[in-house]
Amino acid sequence: MEAYLDNAATTRVSDGVQQIMSQTMLADFGNPSSMHRKGMEAERYVKEARECIAASLKAEPKEIIFTSGGTEANNMALIGAAYANRRAGMHIITTQFEHASVHNPLLFLEELGFSIDFAPVDEYGHVKLPELLDLIREDTILVSIMYVNNEVGAVQDIAAISTAVKAKKPDVLFHVDAIQAYGKYRICPKKEGIDLLSVSGHKFHGPKGSGFLYVRDKVKVKPLIFGGGQQKGMRSGTENVPGIAGLGKAVQEIYSGHEVKREHLYMLKARLLTGLQEMEDVTVNAVPEELTECAPHIVSASFAKVRSEVLLHALEDKGVYVSSGSACSSNHPGISGSLQAIGVKKELLDSTLRFSFSVYTTVEEIDYAIEQLKVIVPMLQKYTRR
C-alpha cells in the first residue's frame, strides 16, 4: 500500500490536465506569436486558460500574467512592485514565517537599499495585527502576507489585514502569496483588498513550471524578464502553452464541486488528527479549536524523541510519503523558520513532520499512515542518542 501525503510539496496532475497538455505538445504545438493558423490555435489555449483563471478570481483576464510558477510570481510581485514604486518609498513589511520565495527576494531588495520589517505571528501562526500596523511608516509601499502557511497550514484573515492596513495607509500595495491557498479557498482579490496574488499550478494537479501572478488593474509592476514582449511586455518569452493549458484545466477542475472537495480534505485532516492524538508524545502544531480556521490539507505534527528525517525514511520504506518541515527547504540544513515563529519547542523542531492531502487522498491512506506511525514511532523512540 502507498500513501502519498506530501501534496503541499506537489501533486499528481489530473488526467484532464495530462490530456490537454499532450494535445498542446503533439497536435496544437504552435507558437502563439506565429501569424499562421498553428499559432492561433495555440493562442486560443492561452486565452481560454487566462479567462478561466480570471473568472475564478472574479478578475479581468488582462490582470493575469503567466509565470514559470509560484517562485517567479512572488519574485515578480515583490521586486517588480518595489522597483516600480520606489519613488513613493522604500519600506516593505512581511511576516516572520514566509516561504523562501518571498523571504529571499526581500533580502535582495534589502541589499538594494529597501528596508524590510517582519511582523510576528502567534502560536497558531496568525499575524499579530496591531504589531503589523505599528510597523507601517510614511514610506511603506508594500505589505506581503502569506495566505496559507506551507509548513503548518495557518490561514490568515486576509480581508481583515488588508482592510486595517489600507485604513492606515491607503496607497500601500498588498501582496498575497496564495500558493498553498488557491484551489483550497475561493479568493476574490477585489473584495479582499489584494493588489498582487501569486499562484503555482502544481499544488492543485496542474503541471510543474506553471503559475501566475494576478496584478490588479492600474497597479504598477516592472517586469523582470525582457525579450520579445509577450504578455504585453510583462513577461517575455514564448508562452509555455502546455503548462498554461494544463494550469487552466486544473483551475477549472479544482473549482468545480469545490465545497465538497474542501469538506473531504477537512474530514481527512480530522481523521489524521484523531489518530495522532491517540499516540503518546505527539504534538500537533497550530491547530485552533475550530478546525475550519486552519487549512484543510496540511497537518504539522511533532514526534518527541524521534528525528524527523529518520521517521520520514522509515515511513517511506512502508510507502508513506511525507515531508520534514517544508519540502522546498528541507534539502537545506537548518531549522524551519515557520516552526520557530509559532513557538514550537526547541527539542521538537527537528522532530516535526508535515502531512498534506489532495482531493485524491483517501481515508484508507490516512488510516494506513496512522497504523504505520503507531508501529514505527515507538520503535524509533527506543533508539535515542544516549
Binding site: V310, L312, H313, A314, D317, P333, Y383, R385, R386
Partner: protein, 391 residues
C-alpha cells in the same frame, strides 16, 4: 593545430623484463579513456605512447581524459608537419614558434630524433641546423643548451612531429598492473581520496558501502554512487557492494556500551568488507583513516579495528592533515559531491563521548554480548548485498 599527443611516463621506464606488461596496460587504459570521446589511434612505441587524434576532436576534453590515466607523467601536444622535406620542416617549426610563443625572447634548445635512420641528416645535425635557422628568424631568441626555457622537440618519422609543451599527468602506475583491493567507501571526503591514491599505484578497485535505512537516506546512497562514478573516471569500472547495516547497528546499540558503539561498528564493517574482499580475490582493503582525525581513528582505535582483519589494510591518508585531503579531493573533483548535505543521519549511534583509547580485550568482552544473534545478522547482511556496477 595539434594533431597528436605524445605521452611520457616515468616509473614504468624503470621496470625490467615486465616493462612490456606495464606499457601495454597504459596503452589500453589510454585507449579506454579516449574511446568514450571518439576514434583515436593509440600506439606504443619506443618508450612512449603516441596518440593520433581524429580529424575533429576537442582539445580540452582530450587533455582532461588523458590527465585521468594513471601512469602518464606528461602530456605533450604535438603539431604534425605532413612532410620530411627539410624546407617544409623549417617552415613548420618557425610557424610553430610563431604561433605558440607570442613573446619571442626566450632561451631554447632544439632536441631532435629520427626514427627513419635513412634520413640524410643525423639528429645532432638537425639540432644545429634548426637552432641556427630559428636564431636567424627570431631576433630575441637565444640558445642555452644547459638550462633552456623551452625545449623544442623535432622528431622525423614518415612525417615530422614538433612539440615543446608538457602538461603534467597524474603520474602513478597504469590501472590493472597492481592487483585488486576493496575500498571502504562512505559519503565523506576521505575515502574517495584514499581509493584514488591506491588506484594511482595501478591497483584495481572494488568498493563496499554500508547504509542503514531509515537512519541513512536513499540520497546518501546515491551520493556514494556518484562519488564512485567520479573516481571510476580514473580507476576504471568499480563494483560497489551496498550492505544494509541497520540491524547489526541496532543490535550493537542494544547490547554494547554506548561509548564503544562506533569502534564495534567499525570492526563489524571491516569484517564484512573483508568477506567481500576475499570473495572477489582482493589482496587488501583500503580505508580513508588518518591518525587522530576522530575518536575512531586514534592509534588505539585503529589497532582495535585492525585486529579483526587478516588481510592488509591500506590507509594512504594516515599521515595527512584534513586540509591536505581536501586539496586532493578538490583536485580530483570529489569534494563538491562529498560535501552535499545528505550525510548519514545516524547520529543517535554516535556517543557524546566515545572511547578514544579502546582496549582490545575490553572491546572483545563487550562483543561477547552479541554472541546470540550476530552471526546470523552478518550472514543476512552479506546475503542481501546489492551490487552496483559503476563506470
Amino acid at each position: 593545430m595539434y594533431k597528436a599527443f605524445l605521452l611520457k611516463y616515468a616509473e614504468i621506464g624503470l621496470k625490467g623484463k615486465n616493462r612490456g606488461v606495464f606499457e601495454n596496460a597504459l596503452r589500453d587504459q589510454v585507449q579506454f579513456n579516449l574511446d568514450k570521446l571518439g576514434k583515436y589511434h593509440v600506439l606504443r612505441e619506443q618508450g612512449r605512447i603516441f596518440v593520433e587524434c581524429p580529424e575533429e576532436y576537442d582539445y580540452e576534453e582530450t587533455v582532461e581524459a588523458l590527465k585521468k590515466v594513471f601512469g602518464v607523467w606528461g602530456i605533450c601536444p604535438v603539431v604534425v608537419i605532413e612532410s620530411t622535406e627539410w624546407e617544409q620542416i623549417t617552415a613548420g617549426v618557425i610557424d610553430y614558434v610563431d604561433k605558440f610563443y607570442p613573446e619571442k625572447n626566450f632561451t631554447f634548445k632544439v632536441e631532435a630524433k629520427r626514427a627513419n635512420k635513412q634520413y640524410p641528416m643525423t639528429s645532432p645535425e638537425i639540432c644545429v641546423e634548426m637552432g641556427s635557422c630559428l636564431l636567424e628568424h627570431f631576433e630575441g631568441l637565444k640558445v642555452d643548451v644547459h638550462e633552456p626555457q623551452v625545449r623544442i622537440n623535432v622528431e622525423v618519422r614518415n612525417k615530422t612531429y614538433v612539440y615543446s609543451h608538457i602538461i603534467p599527468g597524474p603520474g602513478g602506475m597504469p590501472v590493472g598492473t597492481g592487483g585488486k583491493a576493496m575500498l571502504l567507501l562512505s559519503g565523506g571526503i576521505d575515502s574517495p581520496v584514499a581509493g584514488y591514491m591506491i588506484a594511482k599505484r595501478g591497483v584495481t578497485i572494488e568498493a563496499t558501502y554500508f547504509h542503514a535505512p531509515p537512519y541513512t537516506s536513499e540520497r546518501a546512497k546515491q551520493k556514494v554512487v556518484d562519488l564512485a562514478k567520479i573516481i571510476s573516471a580514473y580507476t576504471g569500472p568499480i563494483k560497489l557492494h551496498v550492505v544494509n547495516f541497520t540491524d547489526i547497528q541496532l543490535y550493537i546499540y542494544e547490547k554494547c556500551p554506548h561509548e564503544e558503539l562506533t569502534i564495534i561498528m567499525r570492526r563489524y564493517m571491516m569484517k564484512i568488507a573483508e568477506h567481500f574482499a576475499e570473495k572477489h580475490k582482493c589482496l587488501g582493503m583500503i580505508t580513508g583513516e588518518s591518525i587522530g582525525q576522530v575518536a575512531s581513528q586514534t592509534m588505539y582505535s585503529l589497532a582495535a579495528t585492525n585486529a579483526v582483519c587478516k588481510m592488509p589494510v591500506y590507509r594512504p591518508l594516515i599521515g595527512f592533515d584534513k586540509q591536505e585531503i581536501v586539496e586532493i579531493s578538490q583536485k580530483i573533483k570529489t569534494f563538491e559531491t562529498s560535501i552535499e548535505p545528505y550525510e548519514d543521519c545516524c547520529t543517535i549511534f554516535v556517543a557524546k563521548h566515545p572511547v578514544t583509547r579502546p582496549i582490545l580485550s575490553v572491546i572483545e568482552k563487550s562483543e561477547e554480548n552479541l554472541a546470540e544473534k550476530i552471526d546470523e545478522l552478518i550472514k543476512t547482511a552479506i546475503d542481501t548485498v546489492e551490487v552496483i556496477e559503476i563506470g
